[in-house]
């Protein structure tokens, strides 16, 4: 017996032709419009009351409305249950009424102390008691209307509430003050209930014990699921009240009110979907589209000019939270979409899976609220992270129709309309959005490369050969990009963004062929959120290419060995050549792969024909790589000699901050914790040094990982992947003993996509049941998503250099005649990129003259390096000796700015 409730009376019969998407979306929008109109009507009532009542009376009414909402919010989960199984309304009506009446009686009995505690008139508490019985009943009956296919009546019930409030409520308010207005609200509730009460003839058709039992299981899950959604939606408000001071809680209340718009606008969408999801194929996409559109519209409205909106609606004292308005509304919009996903899962019998997700999301949000909830921004971020994770995982659970383990992808690319194709498309789109979301400024290396890209092509190559340590592929691509799209932040990062996004479908295909579709989907899901690919998709450097080419090279190698078509060998050779043209250290990966070919050819058990085939392909591909890479050799040699004669080598490369965490204290060479730190960076991204030390201390969990591999068998593919991931890393570790800066995760980031493939295989191969594989995949992706969020948002990430923010801030306060001096000297490119309109010069060129009358801004970065720290300190002293005084200093991530004036 299936628990899938397919008997919703309002649903269309099986034989009926499916409704077109547009019609379904239109219906959804019509009801949502009713909901929105009701919301606006209620808002109008509040605004009117604010004008009609005295301030104190209005405050009482506002408190009453908050309590009224508090009683109604948990009850709304019943709507979902009765929308899914309309007979639930008649089945539990008495119990719900009794519960409501019980709450009402309790409120009435405790009205005197409550009135004193809440500073509300006794009459209002009694009115609240009178409203209590309606909460559950309204929810039940409205849900039943959706279930019976009578959404217009539901809309009428929604509209009845503001109509009565605006008529009776206003009149009573004028006559009896706040208590009268509250009585109007209660009357409106009873009126809405009267309208929602369906006619007797619309009783559900499906009866009988079996149906009831099946529905009971499904509806119970649905009710709990929507209750958990209500918790996720509202617990931040409660937490803000408990954790923050009154001012900060007030600021968060502003965000919450704005976010409520998006959440409120999409309330009816899942309820409309629930009775149809199982029978109407297009109902789900229609609901997703409507919820997404409404959510995006809300985000759009708020994002156009949040400062103006917040200022106009709430007053200028709340302007500080304007910047958080759009992210918070986005969080609520995501929750709106999630409600649809949850409704769909419940309707098709997968509710238990989403219950786990919802429980985890609620717990995650609570933990984040406790950890981050020091101010309104922290609370908002906690909710944004939790709802994003929830939306991503619920979305993944909805689209990931996990295939059975062991089903290898067909050679031909499957059309994107099939479930895995749709899943990969969704993951790619999600990954792209995630990669677009962050907006950190360019850092030094990017700015340098952009400045090189502005040269003529010949000059750029000459510059590269004489001053740089990288081969020219990415520079060439960037050179073209700058000429086509300009040198804006997004433009110069476009090649990396494209490569980083392409990594998602490439890993799907690679995982599908190397292992099975499950592993491919899991690897794609991980690639969508993995911090390292996300980070380098947002950096105008060659590392995103590095990861993509590495994934392609390994995939093509396995293809070539297994299938051996000429195209496979050529694909492998092209990917390897691209690797070498992109990053010199990729030679380690290429050599590892060549060694793997040698072992494969020499291994016993091959028949002569197979051995000949492999040998031919191997030598042919090696020759092709040699031909393709040959033109690079003179360039590489010239570059090498230039660097050697300049005495630079890799010590000359400015290393990024955060390297300290990867090196054992007191040792210049990379050590075991350095290796651990780099491994953690590769999988979990960049975090503050303190976090990295803590994460590295969790190494015993690696013991668990190695134990878990016991009995997993040996696969040549896995051995190849492990070798391709570890051998270059080990080689760099050894080389790093001589040249420490070489042992840096960027230079073996080819290991990252390979690690994602292996993790994808691990989480899907560990367990057989699809649900368990999905759960493990989602857990891994969730973990990486949280790590990505910390990497992107946490300003103590030592790899975040906010040159843009620092120079923007200087530009805002600088006047003609002011000057910026900066150290180290090699910041010149990034200063040139962001310092338009600012007069700047490096500290190495000397301090401003003593008689320079304008202000001096001393900008210093790389302050973890003693020579630059000392230079900044001494310059500051020298400027003071010139008679200047320090009037301000500011900190931006990895940047310090001192403002000095006479």
């Amino acid at each position: 017996m299936s628990a899938t409730p397919t008997m919703a009376s309002g649903g269309r019969s099986r034989g009926a032709a499916p409704l077109p998407l547009r019609a379904l979306a239109g219906e959804q929008l019509a009801v949502a419009a009713g909901q929105l109109a009701a919301g606006l009507g209620n808002l109008a009532f509040s605004l009117l009351a604010a004008r009609l009542l005295a301030p104190g009376a209005f405050a009482h009414l506002a408190s009453f409305l908050a309590l009224y909402l508090l009683v109604h919010v948990p009850a709304t989960s019943l709507s979902a249950g009765s929308a899914l199984s309309p007979e639930l309304a008649s089945r539990v009506r008495r119990q719900v009424l009794a519960a409501g009446a019980g709450v009402g009686l309790l409120l009435a009995a405790a009205s005197v102390p409550l009135s004193a505690a809440l500073h509300l008139p006794l009459a209002m508490i009694l009115l609240l008691a009178a409203a209590a019985p309606t909460a559950g009943l309204i929810a039940l009956d409205r849900g039943r209307l959706y279930g019976l296919g009578a959404p217009r009546r539901a809309a009428r019930s929604l509209l009845a509430e503001p109509v009565v409030r605006l008529s009776a409520g206003v009149v009573l308010g004028l006559a009896f003050g706040e208590a009268g207005a509250a009585a109007g609200v209660v009357l409106a509730g009873w009126a809405a209930l009267a309208v929602a009460r369906p006619p007797a003839y619309a009783a559900p058709r499906a009866t009988g014990e079996a149906a009831a039992v099946g529905a009971g299981a499904g509806t119970g899950v649905t009710v709990v699921a929507f209750l958990l959604l209500a918790i996720v939606q509202n617990q931040d408000v409660v937490a803000a009240g408990a954790l923050l001071g009154p001012d900060e809680a007030g600021r968060f209340a502003v965000l919450s009110t704005l976010g409520g718009l998006a959440a409120f606008a999409t309330t009816t969408v899942p309820l409309m979907l629930l009775p149809r999801a199982a029978s109407e194929r297009r109902a789900f996409p229609a609901a997703v589209c409507v919820a997404g559109a409404l959510g995006l519209a809300a985000v759009g409205v708020v994002a156009i000019d949040p400062s103006a909106l917040v200022g106009a609606a709430f007053g200028p004292r709340y302007a500080a939270v304007a910047g958080l308005a759009a992210p918070y509304v986005l969080a609520m919009a995501l929750l709106g979409v999630t409600r649809v996903l949850v409704a769909h899962a419940c309707a098709v019998g997968r509710g238990r899976v989403v219950l786990v997700l919802l429980g985890a999301a609620a717990a995650l949000q609570l933990v984040l609220l406790l950890v981050l909830g020091h101010d309104a921004a922290g609370v908002a971020h906690a909710t944004l992270i939790a709802t994003s994770a929830l939306a991503a995982t619920a979305g993944g659970a909805a689209v990931l129709q996990f295939p059975r383990a062991g089903t290898r992808a067909r050679a031909a690319v499957r059309p994107l309309t099939t479930p895995p194709g749709a899943a990969v498309l969704a993951l790619t789109a999600g990954g792209l959005v995630l990669r677009l979301l962050a907006s950190r400024g360019l850092w030094l290396d990017e700015a340098t490369e952009v400045s090189q890209a502005h040269m003529s092509y010949g000059a750029m190559l000459h510059n590269l050969a004489s001053t740089d340590v990288h081969p020219p592929l990415h520079h060439t691509v960037l050179w073209l990009t700058v000429r086509v799209f300009g040198d804006g932040e997004l433009a110069v990062r476009l090649p990396s963004l494209v490569a980083g996004t392409l990594l998602i479908p490439v890993l799907y295909r690679a995982g599908s062929e190397l292992y099975d579709r499950r592993a491919g989907l899991a690897a794609a899901a991980l690639a969508a959120v993995a911090p390292f690919p996300v980070w380098y998709s947002q950096e105008a450097r060659m590392y995103s290419f590095f990861m993509l080419f590495a994934a392609l090279a390994v995939w093509m190698q396995v293809r070539a060995v297994r299938r051996g078509r000429p195209g496979d060998w050529i694909g492998y050779a092209l990917a390897s050549a691209a690797l070498l043209w992109n990053q010199y250290f990729s030679v380690l990966l290429v050599l590892t792969q060549q060694a793997a070919f040698a072992i494969t050819v020499l291994r016993s058990g091959l028949d002569a024909g197979e051995r000949r085939r492999l040998l031919r392909g191997w030598l042919g591909s090696a020759l092709l790589i040699a031909v393709l890479v040959a033109p690079l050799l003179p360039f590489a040699l010239e570059q090498f000699h230039a660097n050697e004669s300049a005495g630079k080598g890799f010590e000359g490369v400015p290393s990024q901050a955060g390297a300290a965490a990867s090196q054992q204290q007191g040792l210049a060479r990379p050590a075991i914790y350095g290796a651990l730190t780099n491994a953690v960076w590769a999988v979990f991204g960049y975090h503050s040094d303190a976090s990295m030390t803590r994460i590295a201390a969790l190494w015993p969990l690696g013991i668990l990982g190695s134990l878990a591999l016991l009995g997993r068998g040996r696969s040549r593919t896995t051995l190849l992947l492990v070798a391709c991931a570890l051998a270059p890393m080990a080689a760099l570790f050894v080389l790093g003993q001589k040249k420490p800066f070489i042992f840096e995760v960027r230079y073996f980031c080819a290991a990252v996509p390979i690690a994602l493939l292996l993790i994808g295989r691990l989480v899907t191969g560990w367990v057989r049941p699809a649900a368990a594989a999905v759960a493990l995949t989602l857990a891994a992706a969730g973990l990486m998503g949280v790590a990505a969020a910390d990497q992107q948002l946490n300003q103590s990430n030592p790899r975040t250099y906010d040159f843009r923010g620092a120079l923007d801030q200087i530009r805002q306060i600088a006047r003609p005649g002011d000057i910026v001096v900066y150290t180290p000297q090699y910041l010149n490119t990034v200063i040139a990129y962001y310092g338009t309109g600012v007069h700047a010069k490096p500290l190495d060129n000397g301090l401003p003259r003593r008689h320079h009358s304008g202000r001096v801004f001393l900008l210093a970065s790389f302050q973890d390096k003693p020579q630059y720290r000392n230079q900044a300190r001494q310059s500051l002293l020298a400027l003071r000796h010139q008679g200047r005084r320090l009037i301000a200093s500011m900190h931006r991530p990895q940047i310090r700015v001192w403002e000095l004036s006479r």
């Binding site: 914790y673 668990l704 190695s706 591999l709 068998g713």
Partner: protein
Amino acid sequence: MTSEADPRLLSPAWSASPPGRRHRTRLRFGIAVCLPLALFYFAWLLDPARIGNPLLYGILIAAELFNLLQALGFWWTCAGERARPPLALIGEHPDVDVLVPVYNEPVDVVEPTIAAARRMDGARVHVWLLDDGARDEMRMLAKRQGAGYLRRKGRTGAKAGNINHALRRTSSPIVVVLDCDHVPQRRFLRATLGHLAGPRIAFVQTPQCYANADSGELAAAAWSQQALFFGAIARGKDGHGAMFCCGTNVVFAREALEDVGGFPEGSLTEDFELSVRLHERGWRSAYVPEVLAQGLGPEDMASYVSQQHRWARGCLGALGLVLRARLPLRVRVQYLLSCSYFLTGWTVLAYMAFPVIRILTGAQPLAAPAADQFLLHFAPYFGLALSMVAMMGSGAYTFRAFALQSASFWIHVHASLLALLRRPGTFKVTPKRGADGRQPRAALPALAAAAVLLAIAVAGLVRGHDPSTLNNVAFACVHLTVLSFGVAPALRGRRRPAAAIAPAERRAAA
């Protein structure tokens, strides 16, 4: 159980033979790398500068040295492996008495064994059903299958007494002992009797294979442990001339049995003690790494605990005998390794206690700044040692087997305490069918340990997030996870995968 559904009648899914030509080379290469890594680790660990809390350090060193000895013994055993091919007896077929002791096992478990034993070729087979349960249904079974039936008045000496009683009433020069659930293949005698003809060979042992390994996670994990023993370890013991009798699927020369006065009746592991006595008297043993009979392993936690406790109690009780026996050195060391394996639980207990003590009191075995150096020295040794287990077990030894073994730590501790106090044990037959319900009581000590570890992990997280505390929390989580997997079968009850449900049962369910 119908014959159609009986997995013991299917072809074995596992082979005890070495996995390939290069296996031994790889194995020796692995050992050659492991030894310097072990030296690297212990040279670092035994440096006095590492001492944190002296008492805990002492316990850590004792545990690590014990495990090192076990590891060295394991590598040494496996490095000397010998894989005897099946060997038939040339010439006239001898008379063979096949003894199948029975106590309370169901008829449908015993009948396929008797029927299959009757079908064995390569000898004149006389099958005897030794019924200690005094049940008429067994008498009928024997009659039905054309087997002899023996019943005695008392039950002294349990299984050993039962076999000895039969030995006095039978006379064939060759005796096969089969547990009543182990269904032999037709070629069982053809594959083994040739080896018994060797000079002073007392017995030829063959693997014990659990045909019900697919019947649930506990059966699978228990089988995984057996597979490691009857694969690499048993081949190695045979190479060192120290394979001991495992109580079933074994062929004896009657002369050897009579030389030592039959099976010792005062032991819980009569087969083990019998082997010691035979080797002491100059008899030799052989092991044929070929699955020639398939039986039923424990399917639920209570059965597993009962079996492991009996083995641990018996083997630890035999330690004195091994030390006193006049055995060749390498044989004695092999026996000592087998006996002392059941002390492993103490080391597990010590490892689990370290993070608890560290989080509660701040005391730890190693000096605090040594954490990263510990990883540097320990990780290569641990990683390669683990790889060796995986390689020697040919992938048969699984994480769940490891987890089940770790969760059995308390059995070892309890059994060794009983052995130390010289408390007598009682022989309990391992149930041949698992119970379907949950059995948390059978894993109560492990559950208690898991609860303590969980509480300490939470307490650690609440107390502080410094790297040292997190490191210990991580250790606690590792132990907690391993224990959780180990006790999971007891909490979930027996769950058979769909594939393991017999076609007949599926039809019945339909």
